[in-house]
């Protein structure tokens, strides 16, 4: 059995178990879920160790270079004159997906540990959680656009319910906002997907295909098809491929999120329960970044090259705009949400640079942000669970009553603001390096963009340190008085064993970035070469 397939469908198995278990055993559900995620993590680590590197395993646009491949015919319909409909169950990974896959498995374990706080309707929660688990893993493994799209849409459904049913006071508003935002993007994505399907033929069989790798090769496009590279078709007077790129980009940009398509994020985060916030920030946003690299840029490389300026500009705007917003927040979770917008801006800037440094930096930043946002939301959840309040100004001097908690907060905040020695520094620094180098290598981004991006690092320090100063330091002064003071106990064992690996991981990745770079370098270099040929 293919390990990726196992990895994808293990959670479904456990979801079935939970669904079949009687509700009287509800207290065991969280352990079952944790077990499922731990098994997945074990498999991911196995995959990571057995992942081969070298030019001949670069992947990207060579199907044979992908690893842990599995390709099964799935939907094959003979449509008569229209040819044969060919949809494959096609999974495999290369350097672009491997690190994100491992990061995802890890974050899911943390999310499972954070689910201890869920008290109501446990069966529903954990079944949905595991379905979501399957979907996110599936997205990172799919190499067939149709399969990708199914997993991509499948993420939405559980999330909608998870936010809408287990969320905070305005959960329904947040859930519907999130749902509509993302649905808006993906509906148009469907159109582009069908357009691509009708344009691309599998050279082996002559059928139309959803194979993403074959979509990257211009030779596979039918000469006069709508997305053909050579025929320069137009839709409404605009080049068809540009439209296809923009639509796909918007769909993924909503996920990332890129300003101005980001306003679902703060609401969803604030209302979502901690485990869902963790999955949202840690994994969902990376799906956006991954989609932009693999699908937008991969399938429409020449458009990406032509429009990189605008992508970079949006990245810089996200960095600055997100950071400024974060400075204005009074709610801890909202602050972290806006900081995510800012940090994901570096990812977009790095991708837009179309340089090896920028792209590697972007992937590193995604991995790093996966761990760090997980840590931040978990930490925000700690205080919220104890006193059901997250107002930054409602707390003062937490360092005195919760010293261990504060120590982790300091680590998480400083790692997030890009202190060297932690992973975010490597991600941000090399995204910026790529952005700056771009002008001299391929000329797509002007110099000033990197300089403006660096300004975001300054603002990052400002909002995190201000929060530290207001919430954690100074004399003890709590809005809830002595009731809060007794409620605010320091970290318990479960919380400590959740936070410690995260803190160590961001530190280790900061000291040994080769853990990520060694796995992705070949793919990144190949990808950039592939782009340069356009």
């Amino acid at each position: 059995m293919n390990i990726l397939t196992l990895l994808i469908f293990t959670p479904i198995l456990f979801a079935l178990i939970i669904a079949l278990l009687p509700s009287a055993w509800r207290s065991s559900f969280k352990f079952v879920t944790l077990l499922a995620t731990l098994i997945q993590l074990g498999m991911s680590i196995w995959i990571y160790y057995n992942f081969k590197t070298g030019v001949s395993f670069a992947g990207i646009n060579h199907e044979s270079q992908f690893q842990f491949l599995q390709k099964l015919p799935w939907i094959n319909l003979d449509l008569g004159a229209l040819g044969k409909m060919q949809i494959d169950y096609f999974v495999g990974i290369d350097g672009l997906s491997i690190t994100l896959l491992v990061m995802t498995s890890f974050v899911l374990v943390i999310a499972a540990l954070a689910s201890w706080e869920i008290k109501s309707n446990l069966k529903g929660f954990f079944v949905l959680f595991l379905i979501l688990d399957m979907a996110v893993i599936g997205v990172f493994c799919s190499l067939d656009f149709f399969l990708f799209y199914i997993f991509y849409e499948l993420m939405l459904l559980p999330l909608y319910f998870l936010i809408g049913m287990w969320g905070g006071a305005r959960r329904e508003y947040a859930a519907i906002k999130f749902f509509l935002y993302t649905l808006f993007g993906s509906v148009f994505m469907l159109l582009v997907m069908i357009g691509l399907y009708l344009s691309v033929t599998d050279p082996a069989t002559g059928n139309h295909t959803f194979n993403i790798i074959q979509m990257m090769n211009p030779a596979n496009y039918q000469p006069d098809s709508v997305f053909s590279v050579l025929s320069h078709q137009t839709i409404f007077g605009m080049p068809a491929r540009t439209i296809g790129f923009v639509i796909l980009f918007i769909a993924f940009a909503i996920k990332v999120p890129v300003v101005p398509l980001h306003t679902w994020l703060p609401d969803a985060h604030v209302e979502a329960p901690t485990p869902v916030s963790i999955i949202l920030a840690g994994i969902l946003l990376k799906v956006g970044g991954y989609g932009i690299i693999r699908i937008c840029v991969g399938i429409f490389p020449e458009i990406a090259h032509a429009d990189a300026y605008w992508l970079g500009l949006l990245g810089v705007i996200s960095i600055i705009y997100g950071a400024l917003n974060a400075l204005a927040q009074q709610d801890l979770k909202r602050l972290i949400a806006y900081s995510s917008v800012s940090h994901m801006g570096f990812v977009l800037l790095g991708i837009a640079s179309l340089t090896t440094e920028g792209l590697s930096g972007a992937v590193m930043q995604m991995v790093s942000h996966g761990f760090l946002s997980t840590m931040l939301f978990f930490l925000a959840g700690v205080v919220y669970n104890r006193v059901h309040d997250r107002g930054i100004t409602h707390f003062r001097g937490l360092a005195t009553i919760m010293p261990k908690y504060t120590a982790f907060v300091v680590v998480a905040f400083f790692a997030s603001l890009g202190l060297p020695g932690f992973s975010a520094f490597i991600g941000e620094a090399f995204s910026l390096t790529g952005a700056f180098k771009s002008a001299s290598v391929n000329g797509v981004l002007p110099y000033w963009m990197a300089v403006c991006g660096a300004f975001g690092i300054l603002l990052g320090a400002a909002y995190f340190l201000w929060t530290l100063q207001r919430m954690f330091f100074g004399p003890v002064n709590l809005k809830g008085g002595s009731v809060w003071k007794t409620a605010l106990t320091d970290l318990n064992f479960r919380e400590k064993i959740t936070l410690l690996p995260l803190a160590l991981l961001v530190l280790v990745l900061g000291l040994m970035p080769s853990l990520v770079f060694d796995k992705i370098n070949d793919s990144v270099v190949t990808f950039i070469q592939f782009l340069r040929l356009k």
Partner: protein, 698 residues
Amino acid sequence: MDNFLQAIDTLTIKFTLAAVLLPLLAFIINLAIPGKNNKITGWISTGAILASTVLSVFVFSRVWNSHQVHQLVTWFTIGDTKVYAGVLLNNLSVLMLLLVNLIALPVHIYSTAYMNNDKGYNRYFAFLSLFCFSMLALAVADNLVLFYIFWELVGFSSYLLIGFWFTRDKAVQANKKAFIMNRIGDIGLLTAILIIYATFHTFDINILFGPNSIIKSISFFNKGEWFTPLTGYFTIPGVSYHLDAIWQYVAFGGIFLAVAAKSAQFPLHTWLPDAMEGPTSVSALIHAATMVAAGVFLLGRVYPMFNNTELTILAIIGCFTAFMAATIALTQNDLKRILAYSTISQLGYMIMAMGIGAYSSSLFHLVTHAFFKCLLFLVAGIVIHQMAHVRDDNKLNIDPQSILNMGGLRKKMPLTFITALIGGLALIGLPFTSGYLSKDGILIQAFQWSEGKSFVYMLIPVFALLTTWLTAFYVTRLIVKVFFGDLRLLKTYPSAKLHITDGGWQYSVPLVILAAGSLFPFFALNPVAYEHSWLFKAFSTGSSPATERVFHIVVPVGVNILSVLVIYGAYVIYAGKKLNPFSPAGALWRLSFNEWYFDRFYNKYIIKPLMALCRGVFRFDRRVIDTFIHSIAYAGMALAKLAAWTDQYIIDGFLYLVTDIVKAIGNFARRFQGGKVQYYLYSMLVVILVIFLLKTLI
């Protein structure tokens, strides 16, 4: 022979690594040691720094004025670019390595007593070791990425130590301010590194700025463009690559910001006085002797990349900062704040010296200043501690740092007084002290530099001279107010009981060591000629022009005669208590007392507008973007309602209409089948009639 040399070099590198990593080890161990006030942590940190000092003495002896040692390993590969990590040992780095250790060791010893009763004893020594590690690593880092990493880590450990007493509001505000101000410098440095990397495709300090600096030798300016005709270092071979010349200036600007932030130069100097909220031992080590000198060290590292315009800018900023800080120090009443401003002022001298090309004098002053300023801070710490004891014993409501409460401590703490006097004289720069040697060099070379240039350039040496006299004045004021006269505290609280002493050996040993380092023999056998100093000679490049002879006599003699007069004047003013020449109402006095209003200016014109912008942006997010989204949602809802209405009234309406018509017809037709024969007959008749009628008509 070569193998032997290499073996020795490898040994040197190993020793260096050990010297750097030992404090890190101490940091990790101290974090793991349970409890909050475990005395063993102090000895672990001190032991680590002692071992590190011994090792760095060895390294120093191997490398100083000998050959450069440079070894590196691949750290990681990103794409197709290798990033290295390595150690670069040359005169500058081993000097810094040794200096940091020599200052850190007495401070560690001092701290074991100074922090003895503090609740965060463990934490203090852990952080102190972290700082030492970062600072030592910064000194030997061989490439710009590593340099940046430790540059920031130094700032981070300084953040931790400034806010060491985190329950104090002032302390946490100060450490936030310090870190953010330093962050401004960091992004400057990062930008500069990006520019350098994009241009030269290497981070290696030795290749970039070493003896065969490629920035100096290969890049050149032509018609507003910055050319780097390298083939080996870049990705597109054979293409002569150029950048707008402006980017060379941007890189300079970035480095300048970095220097200004770390070394507290105008306009980023305001964090340093606030940083005095940290423990005094920390102020001595970090905010007087080592970390703040990192800016000067950075200038020393990247010196070859500056052109004359840029150097002149440095000179102007340094000179202005020196003067401005000295004027502020004149009127401050907080003991540590006065010393903080004097640090800023002295750092200004160093930056100015770099700007006027007095490279070796600048580094010389860095070293001498580290000793006497650290000494003065340690003295201040003892004095403050004693005042705090008096306050606590008698439950008084006084500020232990205010010099207005002090006085007459000369008799109670003789050793402290004598060492303070040595430190003070070195700070003023009187002969026989180390400060004289280094400051003298800067002043002489400043005059030499301005000679032959336009009159405006003369302002720099003139203001540097003025600053010397200002320094003499405020140092005398400080010493007199603290150590001479009577204890002013007793005027307000006549009944206060006093137990003021010099303290134990942990206090006196560091003071004596540092005081010894503040005297001339440590640096030169000739007490009046800075050129003879071993330290100056090591960095000095060429012979001095003949004109220097004149300045060499005129400047020091003039400066020192006037300095002595100023000291005497200040002594008369403050010890005699007869006349106060400065009216607190005067505009100049207020300018000085309010620290030139920098904080107020920044608050009003930068922080407040920025916060307003943030709130505005958030409102934009809520009001504009969300309103837009909501209006789309409303539009969707309206469309849906319209569709529902259409469904109900048009489509369904049509269907209803159809059914109604059918029904009406049915009802109508139903009547014809009522079951009565008469009706059937009538209807048949009607039908037949109609048919006939139609037939005849048509």
